[in-house]
């Protein structure tokens, strides 16, 4: 093998870099995220497993529906109506009023940085009452 020494050294250095996250964090597995679920409100817009895995698709459809089509009311699986609004529905007083205790928990754990909050305002002091739909 030409330049065998160099190649092997290169491979070793490469392996060290590749495995860096594993041996660097050895023994310090970060705690699993613990989200605080709303106390008052018992059910989310859709069933929990669906929300867990598909909330981004739901929000994506919400934003297209509300902004682009102008249809802002959503009928959930159980026939309940919701205003399609991240700020005014999801983050309302009785639901996920604290971004740090809900959204951030899992997003930080998985290293996901959604840019929702670049524009959408997270509830601060006094989040609004959850708006009731009128029909």
């Amino acid at each position: 093998m030409y330049d065998g020494g160099k190649i092997i050294t290169g491979i070793i250095i490469g392996l060290v870099f590749l495995t860096f996250p594993i041996w660097y964090t050895h023994g310090t597995v970060p705690p699993r995220p613990e989200v605080k679920l709303p106390v008052k409100e018992k059910e989310c817009v859709e069933p929990r497993p669906y929300m867990k895995t598909k909330h981004m698709q739901l929000l994506d459809l919400w934003r297209d529906s509300a902004v682009r089509v102008g249809k802002r009311s959503y009928i959930a699986f159980n026939g309940k109506k919701y205003n399609m609004s991240l700020q005014n529905t999801c983050m309302s007083k009785d639901c996920h009023a604290k971004k740090t205790e809900f959204c951030d928990e899992c997003h930080n754990y998985t290293g996901v940085v959604p840019y929702c909050w670049d524009c959408h305002i997270e509830p601060k002091k006094e989040p609004k009452e959850k708006p009731e739909e009128k029909h």
Partner: protein, 283 residues
């Protein structure tokens, strides 16, 4: 309501299918299917596959075939800025002093800048001083929509409002070059530090997107008239005048805008460009 019923039937159908499919799948012991479902029951999976959220227009929403505005310039109280203040407060429009980075949805211009080419030196005294309210014209043939490479700005088919989808805007600013009315503003920097008091009901914008007046689409959905029109009604009432801003359906012969257009001589900004603006001025 039709939508409800249709939706109910759809969900019911899918669920029945799912309920029937689950034992079948179990019986066949198709392991890979179970793995694919990732802990969901078959009925849930099917529900999620086919149950695409489709919204509908809220019942209380104000609707029109073509929204339009009439600006009755003479009713504008002197030094009044109510429309701009209301609009910018409701929509979290930052207050940036530097005119190069300024963001404005609605503002005042002089006659000669509102209608360039129309001015002459012997013009009526009041026209020289009267501030003209300018905003997005929500053109029937919007050049900004024509040029946008991502459909981030688009005209709503239902009511003709020219909207911005801030989620999609890539910030190429082609729309700003295309708009013949200078109605569009770009976020040259993060606008948040320049918003005095945030309205928690409406988002802010991020740096790098273009924004403009949306004819209060979010308020119309809740059955409210545009913020500027509402503020104008209050402000002019105090002065004992008729409102300077009137909003309504251009396709409805009985609407207030149509009545005003019938009874007054009105002009639009740069009609020769064929954009067909939906904001009319009573000079």
């Amino acid at each position: 309501m039709g939508v409800n019923r249709r939706k109910f039937l759809k969900i019911a159908g899918i669920s029945t299918l799912g309920v029937a499919a689950k034992p079948a799948a179990d019986a066949l012991a198709i392991e890979w299917l179970d793995k694919k479902l990732g802990g969901f029951t078959v009925s849930e999976t099917l529900l999620h596959m086919f149950h695409k959220p489709t919204g509908f227009k809220p019942g209380e929403a104000l609707t029109a075939e073509r929204w339009a505005m009439v600006v009755n310039v003479k009713n504008c109280p002197e030094g009044c800025n109510a429309c701009r203040e209301a609009c910018h407060r409701v929509h979290n429009v930052p207050d940036i002093e530097n005119p190069k980075h300024e963001i404005k949805w609605i503002w005042h211009e002089e006659y000669e800048h509102t209608f360039p080419g129309q001015q002459h030196e012997h013009i009526e005294e009041h026209l020289k001083e009267t501030p003209f309210v300018v905003l997005c014209n929500h053109c029937f043939n919007p050049p900004c929509v024509r040029v946008c490479p991502t459909k981030a700005t688009f005209k709503r088919k239902t009511d003709g409002i020219v909207m911005m989808d801030m989620h999609r805007c890539i910030g190429c600013r082609f729309c700003m070059a295309a708009c013949p009315y200078g109605s569009r503003s770009f976020n040259w920097k993060d606008p948040r530090p320049f918003i005095k008091e945030q309205n928690p009901e409406f988002p802010t914008r991020t740096k790098g997107v273009v924004e403009k007046c949306n004819f209060c689409a979010e308020r119309l959905a809740k059955g409210q008239i545009p913020a500027c029109v509402e503020a104008c009604q209050e402000a002019t009432k105090k002065k004992g005048r008729e409102p300077a801003l009137v909003f309504g359906d251009l396709e409805d012969p009985d609407s207030e805008v149509r009545q005003l257009l019938r009874s007054h001589y009105t002009v639009r900004r740069k009609p020769e460009l064929g954009t067909n603006p939906n904001v009319y001025y009573i000079v």
